[in-house]
């Protein structure tokens, strides 16, 4: 069995479904035997899903005054 230290750096790609087939297999096998890492991966998946479910709803609208200030920044930059 691979150690948690070997598996830990693979969890981000695993959770994002960007791990290679080989690495996915390694993580899967480890999770089957390690409740600790399983907990970590579940936490990462849940948090990822929570944020992505909200997506652009998390983006605040910039104040109108800021929009004006930034638009005028272009003329200052040109000057």
């Amino acid at each position: 069995m691979e150690t948690c230290t070997e598996i830990d750096p693979l969890t981000t790609r695993f959770v994002d479904a960007e791990a290679s087939a080989v690495d996915r297999e390694r993580v899967d096998r480890h999770l089957g035997e390690c409740p600790g890492c399983r907990g970590h991966v579940i936490a990462e998946q849940q948090a990822r899903e929570a944020v992505r479910a909200h997506g652009d709803a998390l983006i605040e609208r910039a104040p109108l005054a800021l929009r004006a200030r930034c638009a005028s920044a272009s003329s200052h930059a040109a000057a």
Binding site: R48, V51, L58
Partner: protein
């Protein structure tokens, strides 16, 4: 899914090629979804400078950049956690971006380029105000929570039902480097390479920050769910455990 600046080159061959302070040092596949500009060689570019298209090209560039204002402001709020500082940060970012417009390579990722400037401008501002050190990695690895230890799935519904403001508040409680990494990955949906370019860190560090950040965020959300459930049960069992 946020739009990437794809399709037709948004700003044309930008005529203002000069050496300017802001450089993009990020991953080299940043422009992979962009469209290269065939024949936008230096000579052509220089000649175009004389023509009247210059004004409209830079206007298009500015328009393209300003279309990302809300996204940059939201990211600035996550970095500064303060509206006044976020506004200053965004304004400085646009000022630097417009000044350095000639450094932007047409057909590459404008959103990534602007985020790089935002990140660097933020670091400069923090440094100027000599606040807390920015590198929180070591600090946070220590306190890296035993997240999800024995976490079953009863929280799942609660996590999904979290409101925007609560989710933002939970994010704002994360250490800065983690907060930024999770935001860039899960809200802006940049690739690891792109994030590495924006924050100027190796890709392994970026993935580690995303992983730790998500775990810490999960803990924040679960703790909040537990508080809500306790409060609800205090008002009678009826609402307890249901959607909040």
């Amino acid at each position: 899914m946020p739009e990437m600046p794809t399709g037709a080159d948004p700003i044309g061959a930008d005529p203002r090629r000069r050496h300017l302070p802001v450089t993009y040092t990020g991953g080299n596949n940043l422009g992979r979804r962009g469209v290269p500009v065939p024949g936008a060689g230096h000579v052509t570019v220089l000649r175009r400078r004389q023509t009247s298209t210059v004004g409209s090209e830079s206007a298009a560039f500015e328009q393209e950049a300003l279309a990302l204002l809300d996204r940059l402001y939201a990211a600035a709020l996550r970095l500064t956690r303060n509206e006044a500082d976020a506004e200053d940060l965004v304004q400085d970012t646009y000022l630097r971006a417009f000044r350095s417009a000639g450094q932007f390579k047409p057909g590459t990722n404008l959103r990534g380029w602007l985020y790089t400037i935002l990140h660097n401008t933020f670091l400069n501002q923090v440094r100027d105000r000599s606040r807390n050190p920015v590198d929180t990695d070591s600090e946070v690895v220590e306190q890296a929570p035993a997240a999800g230890e024995g976490a079953g799935n009863p929280e799942e519904l609660l996590l999904r039902a979290t409101m925007d403001t609560e989710l933002r508040a939970a994010l704002d409680r994360l250490p800065e480097a983690f907060r930024e990494a999770v935001w860039l990955r899960d809200v802006e949906q940049f690739s690891y390479d792109e994030i590495a370019g924006i924050v100027g860190a190796p890709i392994g560090t970026v993935m580690s920050r995303i992983s730790r950040g998500r775990r810490a965020l999960f803990d924040q959300l679960v703790a909040r769910s537990a508080r809500v459930a306790r409060r609800a049960s205090a008002f009678g069992g009826d609402v307890a455990g249901k959607r909040v």
